[in-house]
Subunit: 171 residues, 2 copies
Amino acid sequence: MNIKAFEKLTYGVYIVSAGNTVTKNAFVATTAFQVTASPNQIAVACNKNNFTLSLVSENKAFAVSVLKQHYTPATMGTFGFRSGKDFDKFAHCEFVMGTQTNTPIVTTDALAWFECKLIQQVDVGTHILLIGEVLDSSVLDDVHEPLTYAYYHQVKGGTAPKNAPHAQEEK
Amino acid sequence: MNIKAFEKLTYGVYIVSAGNTVTKNAFVATTAFQVTASPNQIAVACNKNNFTLSLVSENKAFAVSVLKQHYTPATMGTFGFRSGKDFDKFAHCEFVMGTQTNTPIVTTDALAWFECKLIQQVDVGTHILLIGEVLDSSVLDDVHEPLTYAYYHQVKGGTAPKNAPHAQEEK
């Protein structure tokens, strides 16, 4: 087994959000991807310790915002490396409320977003795979490039948040 | 709903293979991603019409090869746009047999590979999500870049095979 093989997998960088008008939270995810086109469904891997997960279960919905390559560092700090249990992340970003599910959707540094109704939760051990049907989507910026994990890691020197599915433990 | 939002999601390009010493098949996948690190598990979305899917179910194993950016066009033609039902794709590539599961693993144009034991199959409608535990992995080329779907699409002018989860129907 060569653990370096995992570094060859390609990921984007996203903000996954959930909640309602009262309680909101979001986290940085690298594993968001379309799993079917008819209907349009997106899957997201979410660590069981993520506060956002309880909001997804409660509200039966989540949203995915696609970060742009030239994001502001504060956005990554707020959503990637703090817990929403004791910090209101939505006081530090711009957002809209989705019209289909009343889910908060982060628009700061976002190129596009998807508003999803929760269809399935799949237990894969340390993480849950959230499967959602896309009820609405929008493109906010069709000019700039999406942020990839490779760019974030190689160019920006960023590291994976500890709850990321591909965060390898220190050997 | 703006369908162009889906183009902002980031994917790699992979060859997913299954079989045994007698029967082998493989297809080009864009949705392969790590879902947990302890143990190392990879998920792959596979269209229900894919011949490879029956081989995964039968052999309870699959492999994922990471394609390099400068792949040879024949590799994409063989694995992305032909059916293994009437064509022996493995007569047209180099491969090794995984030592853990006896799964054929494509090494042509590959930077790295993963040999996986099937853990779960999740029905998401038109596709099945294959969840596999990585029993072995290897890096074949640590110099070149992995192929991304964005590069394949924008630079090479490639299109999604019809069974890809993000192949949108013509409007």
